[in-house]
């Protein structure tokens, strides 16, 4: 017996793009939730008393007990986490023990400073590192290649705080070419009403060019330092990717066909490393956003890296968790951005 029933094609309940968006959103949510859960639990199980961080060494038992209750530490861990998540969803990250300010206010203040610095650093790294890596690969074994490799090696192996202090000594202390630590001279502090929190951008938008020049003079050295480390990584990876491409058969074919070297390098080989480079640049950017702690400390740059580090040492877990969310969002966001660029550059992934 054969079935005469025919199945009507299943109705697409949800459009494909919507499914993808929802799937991505779910992935992001789970990632962030997991990140928060792990950080929260580490903070709670660390052998450090969070109450002492609030009340200090001299507090009486009554004051200690009051804060213990106030922090909700008498509740089960999962309940504490549930309360925290509920607050976070309402935009309340709690109050920083160390600064006494709402964590969201602190982050709104420190993050733009880091964003400004890391963006400049990454731009320097990309605009110098990519051409250097390409040239080094093309001129493999030449003095340019050796120089690029040396630059990369120094960038990888030199402690950033040493280089930072030496940079300060030479360019600020001795030569006086750049301004010292901090974001701006005290004389210009507070002149520009914040728009984005990024002083360079805000001073430009407000037309305060004196402040802009001063702020630029302050940022140029730490940005160059971060840019150098970014350059070292990007140029090395670019060189490696390019070498792989340049040894491919299609490149030989292109050369045999008589295409110009410029055409071969930039239109064929480089075109094929763009996707890998995007990942490298995104990772480098994300690392500068959260990992430039020492640079921030040396240059008295009030950014999120030093904010999280100092908070962690002071057992200021609200601040650490708030900062972790921001860093998590950055990593997830940059990953998402990389994915979108993949789709743009690589038709196969569409």
């Amino acid at each position: 017996m054969t079935s005469t029933e025919t199945h009507a094609p299943r109705r697409q309940i949800m459009p494909k793009w919507l499914k993808r968006v929802l799937g991505t959103a779910a992935t992001i949510s789970v990632t962030l939730l997991g990140l928060l859960f792990v950080t929260f639990m580490i903070g709670r199980v660390m052998p450090i008393d969070p109450v002492l961080a609030v009340v200090g060494e001299r507090a009486s038992q009554a004051q200690y007990d009051a804060v213990y209750q106030e922090l909700g530490l008498d509740k089960p861990l999962l309940v504490q986490f549930g309360i925290y998540i509920t607050d976070v969803l309402q935009g309340d990250f709690g109050r920083s023990i160390r600064t006494g300010m709402p964590v969201s206010d602190d982050i709104a203040r420190v993050f733009p400073a880091t964003l400004e610095l890391a963006t400049l650093g990454t731009l320097l790294g990309v605009f110098l590192g990519v051409p250097l890596g390409v040239i080094a690969a093309v001129k493999r074994g030449s003095w340019i290649d050796q120089t690029a490799r040396l630059v990369g090696l120094v960038g990888y192996s030199m402690p950033i705080f040493w280089l930072g202090l030496m940079g300060l000594l030479v360019f600020y202390g001795i030569l006086g070419w750049v301004a010292g630590p901090g974001r701006v001279d005290i004389f210009y502090d507070g002149i520009v009403e914040p728009i984005t929190g990024m002083l360079l951008l805000d001073s430009a938008l407000r037309g305060e060019w004196d402040v802009f020049r001063n702020a630029f003079s302050h940022i140029v050295l730490p940005a160059c330092l971060l840019g150098y480390f970014s350059l070292a990584y990007i140029s090395r990876m670019t060189r490696s990717f390019m070498l792989e491409q340049l040894s491919s058969e299609y490149i030989t074919t292109a050369r045999v066909k008589g295409l110009s070297e410029w055409h071969v390098i930039w239109r064929h080989a480089f075109r094929n490393i763009r996707i890998q480079l995007i990942t490298v640049i995104a990772l480098s950017y994300a690392n500068l956003l959260e990992g430039s702690v020492l640079t921030e400390i040396i240059f008295a740059w009030p950014g999120i890296g030093s904010y999280i580090t100092v908070s962690l040492l002071a057992n200021d877990m609200n601040a650490v968790l708030g900062g972790t969310v921001v860093i998590g969002v950055i990593f997830v966001g940059l990953n998402l951005f990389s994915d979108l660029l993949y789709r743009f550059f690589d038709p196969r992934s569409k």
Partner: protein, 533 residues
Amino acid sequence: MKHLRSLTAMALGAALLGSTAPLSLAATPDNMLVIANRIDDMKTFDPAESFEFAGADVSRNVYEKLVNFDPMDLEAGYQPQVAESWELSEDGKTITFTIADGHVFSTGNPVTAEDVAFSLQRAVKLNKTPSFILTQFGFTPENVEEMVKVTGENTVEVTLDKPYALSFVLNCLTATIGGIVDKTAAMENEVDGDMGSEWLRTNTAGSGPYKVASYKPNESVMLDLNPNYHGETPAMERVVVQHIQESATQRLMLERGDIDVARNLSPEDVAGLDGVEGVKVVDELRGRLMYFSANQKVEMLADPKVLEALKYAVDYQGMADSFLTGQYTVHQAFLPKTFLGALEDQPYSYDMDKAKAALAESGFPDCGPIKISVRDAQDRMDIGQSLQNTWGQLGCDVELIVGTGAQTLDRYRAREHDVYLGAWGPDYPDPNTNAATFAENPDNSDEAGNTGYLTWRNAWDIPEMSQKTQAAVVENDTEKRAEMYREIQAEHQQTGPFGVMFQQIEQNAMDESVENFVAGGATTAVSYWVITK
């Protein structure tokens, strides 16, 4: 990381020393003082809550008190400020303060008796960490309105639960928590019954020479003149304190002329400034003590002869002359020098023969394992290593347990340490501040949980010494009171499980034009209003 940073700082110092190129000098304006300091401990400006060093610096320059110290003569002790006079009742329990005319808050409101009573009541009612400085006189949130009240147009009456030495009470009122707040401004900004606490966290309403003009946590705090200040107008019309974490960076900024004062220079950087033109270093004795203490729950450490051996086997002068040079001076009593009744005797010096002899007489002639809890600060780890070395020579098996400040403190408060290596600074400028914690233990039981007493943390049960300490705090004859403290300290040095080793010296480097920079000595905080340049 800290080790590496220290090495780097030294490398930079060496490079600075070695560099022959002169640093081009800028200069700050004549009427502005720019200071580099670590201000990341600053949580609030509210005098009822502020209990950190950086906060105390701001508070001292913003809030006046009933009585206060004259920065140009700290040894004179408390002087009239908002209170022009005071009178003690015959029973010694009530002090009536007469409020001086002419003091005006930065808000424009005059300072009244009502503001004074409100400020003290508020500090007790809010019950924040430093409130114990006032509640030790028997004030509670419930009774404080009765105990501290306005009794006339310009008089405030403060009634204590029992008679105390007047000097003790007035010294406590010079602490940050004694700051007089503008009641009108605070209550106008009250939220949910906080008596303006949230507003006063980042704003100020005092009658001192300055007011806070701007504050960026971990970045900077800027003080401008209080236009209504009743005293002489300070020469420094603006004071900016920048948060600069690194010593080497502070030094560089000072040499460049971008700051006037650097407050956190390492010994290497201070040494590096020797001979630098236009810069001077001013040493000032502060109240912080460095000590070790032995948990009396550990049988071996409860043996008096073992304690004696350990105290002799400390290279006090060697440490002070090497890695602590310029930063600490040898001091062996629980009251810092310059405090009333401070004992300057130093009965212990590094003497291995005496140490070994004492150990031989003890019940533990071969010594045994000792774990030293020490936080991960460079100076403390250096001291810990020195103790490890010299106590090791006695035959003790010494292990350093290094942790963050919070970790080591947790163990200490839980009485889980063997030996704790720590620092202690006075909470208010009266001998009782240290005596009550080093030489008083009201209840040594675990259940008592008296974590505020260092004696309790070390399980040192001292009913007789506790009585002596309590007697000293009510003695109204100041000279007799001082003598009582000297006796307690002498006994404490001999019998206590505490080995007080050093007292802090603060080295502030500054432009040579800066005059009258007084960091506050052992008793108070910095005073910007007397500074000139």
